[in-house]
Structure formats: structure tokens, C-alpha cells
Amino acid sequence: MPKPIRYLIYAAAIALLAYNSVYFKKLDEVKAGNTVFDAAGYAKDFWEKKLTPGLSKAMNLNALTSLLKADKEKAFNEHSHALGIGNIRYFLVKGRGVVTDVDENEVSVQLTDANGKAVTPQVRIATEYIFGNAVRDASGAIDINAFANSMDFNNVSAEINKIIREKVVPPFKSKVQKGDRVAFHGAIELNRAHLQTGNIEIIPVSLQIEKP
């Protein structure tokens, strides 16, 4: 074989090897692949696209407490959610009532029925201690398998609670007074094995003070 052709083949082989040995990628693409989970972004997206539009599915709290008394298993099986397993379950609820007390940590509300008549139980709307997984889990719209590790979904709860603490509570807390009529959407936590419906705490998702 003539020398030039041999050298040409050698050069082509080396070029081929070199081409397949080195890869060039844009730095932006590499950085995008290594990004940490954006819990704040996930929480904002969840709030705007899943939770708020899904509030229409919230169960009336009066109806829920009646169902819990009549058929606890049905109430939990059909209306509660939780990302994990165990006795702690969460419900997305709504209701109306009259404010009976306002303190630094919560607003106590006497629930009313469709005719404005007082019904049991009295509930507490949390305005200070906005913690835990109630709002994250209650809608049932989050799939645990979407998270690579447990700290990611813990951080989602923290970010959702931050939205409530910063956007939902302040305009309500600054105006609410004893005797006001209020409407709420929110999440509650109940223990399936040790059910207590006499002291329900609502973590609010939306709060309105209605005209008397």
C-alpha cells in the first residue's frame, strides 16, 4: 500500500478515536443536570396550579364531622390523604363561622350551617404555628415518588407553610375581630386511631372576612 494512503488511514483512525474520546457540552447544560431540588419553586407551582384550583373539592367541615361520627372509616378512606403510612391523615376542608376569640396564636371560630345557625364543633384557625405537612398532603395532589429523597418533600412543606405565613395570614390577622363572620379553606390533621374532633386546628389556605 502506498505510504500516503497508509498515513491517511492512520490519521483517519486517530481522528476517529479522538472524536469519540472527547465530548463537549455547554456549561449551562451541565449545571442544569446538577441542580438541587427547588423546593420554593415546586411549592409555588403546587400552590398556583394544584392547590388553589383544587379548593373546590374541599369538604365542608360540618359534613365531615358528621360523617366522622357516623362512619369514621368511610370518612378517612374517601376524604383523607397522606404521603406516608400510619394513623396521621389530612383533610382539605372549607367552612363558615363566627369568630369567638382572637389571640396571638389562633382565631377561634364557631362554625355555622348554610342558614347561619351555630353548629358544633368550635374550631381554631392557626395564625402563628403554621408548621407540618397538613396543606402539602391534604389535597392528595402530590405523589411521593416525584421526590428523590425525603428532605425534598420536607422542604416542600416548609415552603408551602412559608407562603401561608407570608400571604394568607397577615391580611386576615391584621383585621379580624371577635364577632366577625369568616369563611375559610384549609387543611386539618386527624389521627385515625385516636380521633378527636372537639379541638380541630385548621391550617388556612384561604381566609375571608365576610360582611356581617
Partner: protein, 318 residues
């Protein structure tokens, strides 16, 4: 003639191979499935209970099982895994000794086609174990943190006694607690020290902390053994009535101490739920299911004086 011999040899090999595979398949289908239960240590009653409940559930589901004690030693754990793989176990219910050191064992078993279901402790690798069923320590400590803030009325000095610093549970509990308490600037953590989940070490740590900080109002401990140790030190220094102690686990002596008003609260874990879920997942795996959650948190319930009557050690009362 040469081609014919080759042809006949090839045919013989194919039939022999098929026959061999057929025998093996028949044997695998006929014999009852075996489950290995590999536990970090049987020197701790909490883990003994976990192993017993896993064994009971496996038996109830119709499987043979055997418990292996790793004695908190990853080398021993590796031997158990090698043994389980060589002995033809079909699934491993696993309580890891070390979140990092145990990864290789899980990988080896899964590579050998054996599903691994972690119980209570996790391995630091996503998607390696078939599923990890773990106490939701973070959320449990969020609840404890909230109660801590309420009982201390948002102000005061406190110390935190951590578990083993290399254990994920230590930090999940600490992070959950601080995710609430750090919102309140009136609550000042004056010391944070490890006592390795050990009661005696916690007592020593608390004794020395009390010398440096005699005016603390609360103690948060990463497990109940340390809460009991801290409480002993507080009794010895005459401060037990003033300083509020919080633990985590749901151990028998702490449940009793909550009843007696000595300890304020603990986070009750449910080893039975974790063990039963792991065994049930193994059963479902044998029946063809493959899409298991990578991590399955098990709710932790806060136990305090006003609900302690509902609880006994390791879970609810029967």
C-alpha cells in the same frame, strides 16, 4: 461428517441447557420463598421487636424466614448478605448498620436479583434498595418543636443533645425540631452536643452542660435513652422540676415518665408498622409488583401527658 458432529454437539448442548433451566425453574417454583431479616443489632430491645414483627409477618404470609444479627458491624453485615445470596434467599428485610457502609451490601443483593426492603434506617443512595420504609422523624420532630415552643412560651435557653453524628436519623430529627424552634428568636440554644444515642453518655453530657449553663429551661434529645440520661442529671442537680425534657422514640420508660410528669413529650415510632410493611412489600414483589415507593415515611405521633393513655412502648396499646 465434521459439520454433522458439530451440529449434533450443538443440539445436545441446547437440549441439555434447556433441561437444566427447566429443572432449576421447577425447583424455584416449588420450594417456599425464603426471607432473610438482617438487623443492625439485637442488643437493643427496639430492634429485637422490629425483627420479631418482621418474622411474624413473613410467617403469616407463608414464607420461611431467618433473622441475622449484624452486631452493629458492617463486616458482619456483609457476611450475612453473602450468606443470604449464596443460600438462595428470595428477599431481604434490612435494618442497615451504616447509611453509607451498607450501600454495597444492598447493591450486591439487588444485582443478584434479590429485592431489599430497608426498615427504619436508610442507606444514602437513591434507587438502590427496592424500597425504604422509614419513620418520618423530621415531621415527628416538627410536632415536638411546636410543642416545645408552646410550653416554653417562645422564650428561654435550651440545649440539644444529638444522637450519633453519622446517622441520618440524628439530623432528620434535629432539622425537624429546628425548622420550628429557629423561628423564635426568644429561644436560644446555648449548647448542642452529641451523646451517641446513649443514656449514660447523655447523663455525663448533661452534667457538664449544667455546669456551664445552670439557667437552661429546656432540653431536646434525639432519642428517649438520652432523654432519660438527661433527666437523671437534672434530678441529681435539683433542676428536674424546672427544666423541660423532650425525647424521641416511644420507649417504655419515657412513656411512663410522661405519665408521671417527668418528661414532657416524645415522638412515638411504630416498628411494627415498618416491619409489617416491609414483609408485605416482599410478598407483593414475589407476586410480580415492581413499582414500589423509593421511600415510604411512617407517621410519628407525639405523645404527651394529655394523650399518653393511648400509647405503650413501640406503638399504641392493643
Amino acid at each position: 461428517m465434521k459439520i454433522s458432529i458439530l451440529y449434533r454437539t450443538a443440539l445436545f448442548c441446547i437440549f441439555f441447557g434447556l433441561g437444566f433451566i427447566g429443572c432449576k425453574t421447577k425447583e424455584s417454583k416449588d420450594r417456599p420463598k425464603k426471607i432473610a431479616i438482617v438487623i443492625s443489632t439485637l442488643n437493643n430491645p427496639w430492634f429485637v421487636f422490629l425483627a420479631q414483627k418482621a418474622e411474624e409477618k413473613a410467617k403469616q404470609l407463608g414464607y420461611e424466614s431467618k433473622v441475622f444479627d449484624s452486631q452493629n458491624n458492617t463486616a458482619q453485615e456483609t457476611d450475612h448478605f453473602d450468606n443470604a445470596i449464596a443460600s438462595g434467599y428470595d428477599a431481604i428485610l434490612f435494618n442497615p448498620t451504616d447509611a453509607d457502609g451498607s450501600i454495597v451490601n444492598v447493591k450486591n443483593a439487588v444485582s443478584a436479583g434479590i429485592p431489599v426492603f430497608c426498615m427504619d434506617r436508610e442507606v444514602n443512595a437513591n434507587g438502590i434498595a427496592t424500597s425504604q420504609i422509614l419513620s418520618d422523624s423530621y415531621s415527628g420532630c416538627v410536632a415536638i418543636g411546636k410543642y416545645f415552643v408552646e410550653t416554653l412560651n417562645k422564650k428561654g435557653k435550651y440545649v440539644e443533645i444529638l444522637g450519633m453524628v453519622g446517622d441520618n436519623n440524628t439530623w432528620n430529627r434535629s432539622k425537624g425540631f429546628h425548622s420550628v424552634v429557629d423561628f423564635y428568636p426568644g429561644l436560644k440554644m446555648v449548647a448542642q452536643q452529641s451523646a451517641d444515642f446513649d443514656r449514660n453518655k447523655a447523663m455525663e453530657v448533661m452534667e457538664s452542660l449544667l455546669q456551664a449553663h445552670p439557667d437552661i429551661d429546656g432540653v431536646f434529645c434525639g432519642n428517649d435513652a438520652m432523654a432519660m440520661g438527661a433527666y437523671q442529671a437534672l434530678v441529681a442537680s435539683g433542676k428536674a422540676d424546672r427544666v423541660k425534657v423532650f425525647g424521641f422514640d416511644g420507649a417504655e420508660d419515657v412513656v411512663k415518665s410522661i405519665q408521671d410528669g417527668k418528661i414532657l413529650a416524645t415522638g412515638m415510632q411504630f416498628p411494627e408498622v415498618m416491619a409489617q410493611t416491609a414483609a408485605t412489600f416482599a410478598d407483593e414483589y414475589f407476586k410480580g409488583k415492581r413499582d414500589f415507593p423509593r421511600k415510604m415515611p411512617v407517621a410519628v405521633e407525639m405523645v404527651r401527658k394529655d394523650n399518653v393513655e393511648n400509647y405503650a412502648a413501640y406503638g399504641e396499646k392493643e
